[in-house]
Symmetry: C2
DNA sequence: GTGAAAGCGCTAACAT
DNA sequence: ATGTTAGCGCTTTCAC
């Protein structure tokens, strides 16, 4: 049967007023319409089940009430926590969140930004570290959006000329190394992600720098995918080759660390006792594994919230917000 | 400085053609415009960094290329897995996903559906079991949307007159009970969620039914929040009161089960050895905990994909798809 | 194949 | 306070 959705004109007609009045009553600044007609319109709208056509509203006004969020993988707890913060913040500002997923493909990301731009969102938020340094095309796309009055915020990856909320990955990893050395560890392996990921690189380097201050260096470095399976595979490989003298494995994120713990157990070893493990992020699952995972706590949800604030703020200068991290020592790295 | 974003007219002018031709070249059915002008337009568009205004397109066409997704909590692995499937499916169909989060509040959910309806999405997908039976207002809102030609699909909760993809919660729990009895367990406690959640109720009842066939009944039933903290609190409570003769605790979802395991460890007990635990869903973390969690596998990602297909399918009759579950026995329920 | 013109549902001057 | 009238950027008849 599919009748059309009722339009503003239907409501106006039903209420016996002009479209303009109906518009003012329903969406405008309320104050300019008499209580009487206001009621008439409201009731007519309710009777008809009217919902304003946001697209039409957007074309007419030239702006939308949405913020577009770009993440790499929504099922990844790191991103979904950030997303949760963003949704919170957006909701507080009366904005709807639209979301797109890149699957970590730079091409796809570029395409997505282009499509999203078409939605003319109030703001675009990029979450998660970009891939590689070759971001010219992306930067162009974003600056076109920016030039047209759009707002951009970036979570996690500094270096883009927009409001950015991030953490100090180097420092966090450095402090972790410190704490671990203080716990008596001396022989470390690093499980890092693909080198093109800034996050991975910074954390690995920070950790190495921390060790260096104690006159140490990593016994071994293994590269793997930035996922749980990546961590599992890398740890399995390490064990196959013989882990030698390694006492502790630092994985550059918790997801990888948890994958590594699983590999350890699969090999009949006990994480923490036979080999210590540390991660980075403090995702919710970090306290669910046994032993609980030593890690660097990243305030993911707060980062999301802050990103929205940055995007919405009317500043000329791109602001860089660095949220503090903290080392959290847990059972996966017992004192030696 | 904020120049305006280039419009179709700008492109047309730049290419020396009419707006109509530009429109046809950029978005229409390609075939009706000469190769020559097509190129002209394409180049002009590229030069200007043109991105079509999707809102204007939507008002003109009367339809959008978006699907709206409503979830309770995006940080919950259950929902984010479903969301991932939906994003996959939508992407395959060339649709953008917009997302809103209810925080499990029925009022908020109603409000969201109303707002979303204003976006005139191609389809609305509701993910996660609804709260309570009092869904009249929600049903009204949805049927207004439906009447205007919108498509609706529901994940997880049967009972709404729309295409639905779900699992047989009763049966899954029933089979789990069977398997656990076969493993030698006799004394069970059930950790259930709020009774208003169908999912929780069905799983608890199915489990009880399974036990009944073996001439057993649950020793105890504890109600808690449907979250990890809820599971933790409930288990702590159970331990405080003395768990008596209970051999195995069945939590109606993995998140609660994992919370319960954590409570167990907090109390100095070893999950699996001192007290067996089983959950439901098979979220990714189920294999990360130690011992790995016995559970009922739910194909969450596939459910999301299937939901999009249902929503997009042109069927009159609301279809009900029940995806199969399977019992997965792991270390948290060793054979007795 | 291409352009002119009307219209999508709404908002925002501009009148009154 | 309310109605009239232009648009917003795009698509889509309808002629040529």
């Amino acid at each position: 049967m599919t009748e059309q959705a009722p339009t503003l004109l239907d409501v106006a007609r039903e209420a016996g007023v002009s479209a303009a009045t109906a518009s003012r009553a329903l969406n405008g600044s309320t104050r300019t319409v008499s209580a009487e007609k206001l009621n008439l319109v409201l009731q007519a709208a309710a009777r008809l089940g009217y919902a304003p056509n946001l697209s039409a509203q957007a074309t007419a006004r030239g702006s939308t009430k949405t913020v577009a969020l770009i993440v790499h993988d929504i099922a990844d707890p790191y991103f979904s926590s950030i997303a949760a913060g963003i949704v919170d913040g957006a909701e507080a500002a009366g904005l709807t969140v639209t979301m797109a997923v890149t699957g970590r493909s730079p091409d796809r990301e570029l395409e997505i930004v282009s499509i999203l731009r078409g939605h003319r969102p109030h703001a675009i938020v990029l979450a998660g570290s970009r891939i590689g340094d070759d971001q010219e095309a992306l930067a162009d796309e974003l600056s076109a959006y920016r030039a047209a009055g759009g707002r951009v915020a970036v979570v996690s990856q500094p270096g883009l000329p927009y409001g950015t909320v991030t953490i100090d990955n180097r420092r966090g990893a450095d402090e972790l190394a410190d704490a671990l050395v203080a716990h008596g560890y001396r022989r470390f392996a690093i499980l890092r992600g693909p080198d093109v990921l800034h996050t991975s690189r910074d954390r690995a380097e920070g950790f190495t720098a921390g060790l260096a201050r104690a006159g140490l260096e990593p016994v071994e470095t293994v590269e793997a995918e930035f996922t749980e399976d990546g961590g599992h595979a890398a740890m399995s490989g390490l064990l196959d080759r013989g882990r030698g003298e390694v006492e502790l494995v630092f994985a550059v994120n918790d997801v990888m660390a948890i994958g590594a713990m699983r590999a350890l157990r699969d090999a009949g070893l006990v994480p923490g006792r036979d080999l210590a493990i540390a991660g980075f992020d403090d995702i919710p699952a970090a306290v669910d594994v046994d032993p609980a995972l030593t890690t660097v706590a990243v305030p993911m949800r707060k980062m999301g919230r802050r990103a929205i604030e940055l995007a919405l703020a009317e500043t000329e200068e791109p602001e860089l917000v660095r949220l503090p991290t903290s080392v959290v020592l847990r059972g996966s790295t017992p004192r030696r």
